[in-house]
Symmetry: C2
DNA sequence: AGAATGGTGGACCGCGCGGTCAATAACTTT
DNA sequence: AAAGTTATTGACCGCGCGGTCCACCATTCT
């Protein structure tokens, strides 16, 4: 049922979603919604929060594994994100949409959660890069955290560009180019 | 006067901006607005369009110059974007905000303009990188268009992360890291 | 000067919004 | 089975929305 609410916000945005929409989509009466969550904003926040947590968790799962395949897992994850952002599935990422819409009118509760999520994702990228470094796929001298931060920017860029309708091939190309730019350990350099 | 409308949309978003807000901010009567533009959506589109054109143009201007300083100009531009995205100025980029809010309910007129703008910016990045390549700051074998696309992703990522409240130092770091990843011509490699 | 013209303002419209609340249904307890 | 208790409902509220429309006034033409 929370999922239905989430999809509604996800598809139409915060302001464009009315409480009647939410009634229709959940099958619940208006009073029940207000009784359980108190507010449209609070309801959104609830949805947004679990979405953020899930996002970070799904990144963790996707990157989990032995040192050997770490870089490849990261690559696959980012390419998957590129494909997902591009498809005419259209909806993109709720975190991006929510922050874009609600930042700037004092909704620090929203942006704070988004920031935390982004930092969580960045941390997982960094851990994955450390693994890759340990395995020798990334140069020993490199700073995994800096690289992770930069890949996070690319990651969010994919989402933004995908929303504008950029095609899948271009987005995947960006990922490849970014990964090619990672410092490779000397013995692996072509 | 169009500037006042633009600022309103820019600060509050599309859905959250009412026609009364626009009346107040322009000093015009409602009938005048409708007489001149016909519609809230059309009015937004008008604003959005010129904003897109101006954005691309401002990139062009920022990157214009001799081959010698091309890479440095690009670097400065991206660092400036990082700083601008981070400040508690808050408003960020109207293209990003508009596409995030309006993509997905068939508003292809909005996303099309945004996509065109992004491609224009990418093209200017690529031209600048070609210059840098000609001057020997970028490896001869590299593909400036691919690099430009990747930097575009970083660029849009900065905006998205800045909106979530990420601090300026982090954003600037991402730019530096991305630029360090560019293939440097052999004779300049440390 | 007076008539014709067209751009302008803001009262006005119906609607759908976020939010409330008393009536009611469903379930628990004895 | 009856009483008590909690959860659910949808009619209802006032408001502010996007959009319309006409009286008004400044300008121009004769």
């Amino acid at each position: 049922m929370l999922r239905a609410v989430r999809d509604q916000f996800w598809n139409k945005g915060y302001a464009a979603t009315s409480m009647d929409d939410l009634m229709k989509v959940t099958g619940l009466g208006k009073g029940s919604l207000y009784g359980a969550f108190g507010d449209k904003h609070q309801l959104f926040l609830r949805i947004f929060d679990t979405y953020c947590v899930n996002s970070v968790e799904s990144v963790r799962q996707a990157l989990e594994g032995p040192d050997a395949g770490a870089l490849e897992r990261l690559r696959r994850y980012l390419l998957g994100a590129a494909t997902a952002s591009a498809g005419p599935s259209r909806r993109g990422c709720l975190v991006a949409r929510g922050t874009a819409e609600l930042s700037g009118q004092g909704a620090t509760d929203v942006t704070d959660r988004a920031l935390t999520a982004f930092q969580g994702i960045e941390a997982h990228f960094a851990r994955c890069l450390e693994q890759a470094q340990r395995h020798g796929d990334v140069a020993a001298g490199a700073d995994p955290r800096k690289l992770a931060a930069m890949l996070l920017a690319v990651f969010r860029g994919l989402e933004a560009l995908g929303r504008a309708g950029m095609d899948e091939a271009s987005l995947r190309g960006m990922v490849e180019t970014a990964l090619e730019g990672l410092p490779v350990s000397a013995r692996r350099r072509r």
